[in-house]
Each structure stands twice: as structure tokens, then as C-alpha cells.
Amino acid sequence: MTALTPGQTPALSVTGLRKNFGANDVLRGIDLAAHDGDVISIIGASGSGKSTLLRCIPMLEIPGSGTVSVGADSLSPKGGRLTRAEEARARRMRGHLGFVFQNFNLWPHRTVLQNVIEAPLFVQGRSRAEATDEAMALLEKVGLTDKRDAWPAHLSGGQQQRVAIARALAQHPRAILFDEPTSALDPELVGEVLKVIRALADEGRTMLIVTHEMGFAREVSSRVVFLHHGQIEEDGTPAEVFGAPKSDRARAFLSSHFDRNR
């Protein structure tokens, strides 16, 4: 955990987070806080619980126990389900987050522009003119203004993921969560998506990134968290975690990864 600056609430935090699927304990007590401007990469082997951790924050998975806070709202669901009131609060918390999925999950029946303006228009109740202007600015940022009227099915994976990022940004999120944003992409398309994410980091956006791109994590993160069997094994700056990992497991994981990649 980073030391809390006194008087400053984190943009988002989880405490004592646990989650099991049947007999399989996927998360075994996770404490993590992200302050405004933090870029935290979450790394670890498949099955270490990274994606589940990320999905618990907007309650796509309901944690078994523990607390999730986003801004001033927090939730401590009991028994793996949300009550009606908790569901309403979860919805408010989701409104302050952006989530980018591994498989993009664009709405296939809406064009690029419609995907981006959907939540501003129909959830946040902004005007169409305002939402459209802003969406165009976001599409420019991800380099896809010329695709505004295209269908998702006609875009490459890299383009779809950039639209998904624009869609997440359109919600004015306090923090953006990336769930392996480049894992479903052909190798030659990874670069364009990482470039966009890097630009967001440079803007000072608060981000949590689950990733297998170690070189990228090392470059853009302010902090790196290594997960093993549902627990945080290693937590520090990229230099600390990549340069001098304390645990044997992190060392083994990293050496196997750096042998394979770059």
C-alpha cells in the first residue's frame, strides 16, 4: 500500500477484498488504494486473480467480503450479492469509473459515435450537441474521427479498443480500469492501443491496468502490484518491482516474462 497522504481520500480503494468461485479462493484479502494521478499496473500469472480484482471494483463480480470505495461512495457487500440499495450505489460508483475490457465489448448495433455518446446521453443526461462535440474530441484523441459512422464489426481490434477507450473517457471517470486491454489483439495492433494508454498516463489520469505487457508496465506505471494466488506479493515502483523483486515468486515470474518478451 502507498502511504496515505493525510486528509486525502483515494480515488478508489479496496480493503480486505475476498472472492471465491466455489472452492476456489481467487482473492484472499486484497488491500489497494489508488490516488488521483496514480497509474498502477497489476501483473501476475494467469489465475492469480488480477482480472477478478479489477472486475470486483465496479461490482461486475460481487466480492465475498471486503470493501470497495470509489470517491466518497463505498460498498461492503455480504454473501456475494447486492441489495437493491447497494445496487443503486454500485451504479453511482460505476458512473465515476471507466472500464476497458479485454474483448472491447462495443455495442455491435451502434456506430462508433453512438457507442461513445450512449452513456453521456442516456445515463448522465447531457445534451446531444454537447455529448457529440465531446465524443468527437475524444475520437480525435484516439485517432478515429474518420470512423465516427462506422460499425464496430468493420473495425480492426486495435480500432475497436481505441473506441472503447474513448467510450470510457466520455463518462468523465475519476479512474479508468483496463482489463488486459491488448491481450485480444494481433501483435501488430498492440502498439496503437498502448500509445493511447500511454498518452492518458501522461495527462495524469488515474488508471489501474491489468496487463501482460511488462515493458509497457515498467514504462508507464507509477506503481506496480504483483499478484500471486489472490494476494499481493509485491508492491512498489517499477524500479523496485522489476529491478529488485523481493519475493521468489515475483522473481521467477518476471524472469520467465523477460525471457519471452523484449
Binding site: 453511482r92 465489448n105 462495443l106 455495442w107 448495433h109 452513456a119 460499425w151 463518462q171
Partner: protein, 229 residues
């Protein structure tokens, strides 16, 4: 062939067209609403059991028997004859319409269920993370995608129902088939008369086929080579 007879028959059968269209459209509307309700019920375990039995019952028995059961059967119950529903349920029109709606709902709910199951889970999750309510997700994401998915199968059901309305002629209603049957018993020229009726059903079916192809292309342009809306 006797062309004057054919054309006069054609005209008198066309007089049954309004009733046929009326039963057809209302049964599709009623059946569609009920089908949506049956699918919403499926979210709870008891609701799923009720919906499952309903479909089992109405899909598993002949429509003709359902029509007879409602028209002849319900009158056997005293409490129904006493109830406020009796003014409706003693009319063959309402009995026929009710049977058609109940039957259509069973099939349509299965078609819709297939469509709903084909909605990508990720599209729904994307709706949830953008803060949409359950109702908004249903209205903006799940149903639009499910309907697009179900359209080809549903156009089959639309045509089936058109032809199914012919069965109400058995409970004295004068739809197109009812008029044709009456004319046959007067003239004994069955082939020509039935041919007239069949041609009209065929023409309407053709329109449905065209309309559904048009709707498919319009609702899912990305599947038909069009790059922009």
C-alpha cells in the same frame, strides 16, 4: 376455368380479409407482449418453471384443440358463465383471438429466449459499467440485440400465425377460410374456391418475407456490407 366465377369468389373471400388481418395482427401483438413477460419471468426459479410449463402446454398441443377448449370448454364452468368475462368468452371472436394469442406467445417466447441467449455477455457488462440501470440495459442493449438475432426465426412465426388464423373458421367465424368453406358447401366447387383463398394467403406471406428481409438489412446494416448507417 370459369374466370367470372373465380373473380366473384375472389371478391367475396376478400371480404374476410379484414377479420383475418385483425386476428393476425392482434394475436402477434398480444402474443409478443406475453412472450416478453414470459421471458422476464424466467429470471426467478418459480417464474422459469411457470414459463416452461406454459410453453410445454401450448406448444405441445394442437391449436385446433386449444380453440375448441376455449370456445366449447370454458362454457362448461359455471363460474366463468357468471363472471364479467362471459360477455367476451361466449363470443367466438374473442375465444379465437385468445387461443391465437396464447399459442403465439408460447412460440414467440422461445424465439425471444433464443435471441436473448445470443446477446453477448460483454455487451451487457459494458452497459453495467457505464452506469445503466437494469431497465436501461434491457431497453437499450439486450432487447435490440435479441430482436435482431431473433428476426429470421420470428418472420417464420409471423407467417405461421397468418395461416393459423384459418382455424377460427371452425368456430363459426367468417374469416377468409370461413367464407371459402361456406362457399364450398353452397357450390361444391372446392378447388377453385380454395385456390382463391390460397392465393391471397400466399400474397400476404410474400409481403411478410420481403418486409422481414428489409427489416433485417435495416436493423443490422453491418451484416449486409453497408459501412455506414
Amino acid at each position: 376455368m370459369d374466370l367470372t366465377f373465380l373473380s366473384s369468389m375472389f371478391q367475396s373471400i376478400l371480404k374476410g380479409l379484414p377479420l383475418t388481418l385483425n386476428l393476425w395482427v392482434l394475436s402477434l401483438l398480444g402474443g409478443g407482449c406475453l412472450a416478453l413477460l414470459l421471458n422476464l419471468m424466467r429470471q426467478s426459479r418459480i417464474g422459469a418453471a411457470v414459463a416452461g410449463s406454459y410453453v410445454f402446454l401450448f406448444r405441445g398441443t394442437p391449436l385446433l384443440i386449444q380453440i375448441f377448449m376455449i370456445y366449447y370448454g370454458l362454457a362448461g364452468f359455471g363460474f366463468i358463465r357468471q363472471s364479467f368475462l362471459w360477455p367476451f368468452l361466449r363470443e367466438p371472436y374473442w375465444c379465437g383471438l385468445l387461443a391465437l394469442i396464447l399459442n403465439d406467445a408460447a412460440y414467440t417466447s422461445e424465439i425471444l429466449r433464443g435471441g436473448l441467449r445470443a446477446v453477448p455477455k460483454g455487451a451487457v457488462e459494458a452497459g453495467r459499467v457505464s452506469g445503466m440501470s437494469r431497465v436501461a440495459i434491457l431497453r437499450r442493449i439486450t432487447l435490440p440485440l435479441a430482436i435482431r438475432q431473433a428476426l429470421p426465426a420470428y418472420s417464420n412465426e409471423i407467417i405461421s400465425m397468418l395461416k393459423a388464423t384459418a382455424l377460427v373458421s371452425t368456430i363459426t367465424l367468417m374469416d377468409m377460410t370461413g367464407i371459402a368453406r361456406a362457399a364450398i358447401s353452397e357450390t361444391w366447387r372446392a378447388v377453385e374456391i380454395l385456390l382463391c383463398a390460397a392465393v391471397i394467403y400466399l400474397a400476404i406471406s410474400m409481403l411478410v418475407t420481403r418486409a422481414s428481409a428489409w427489416a433485417e438489412a435495416r436493423l443490422s446494416p453491418w451484416q449486409f456490407g453497408r459501412t455506414t448507417p
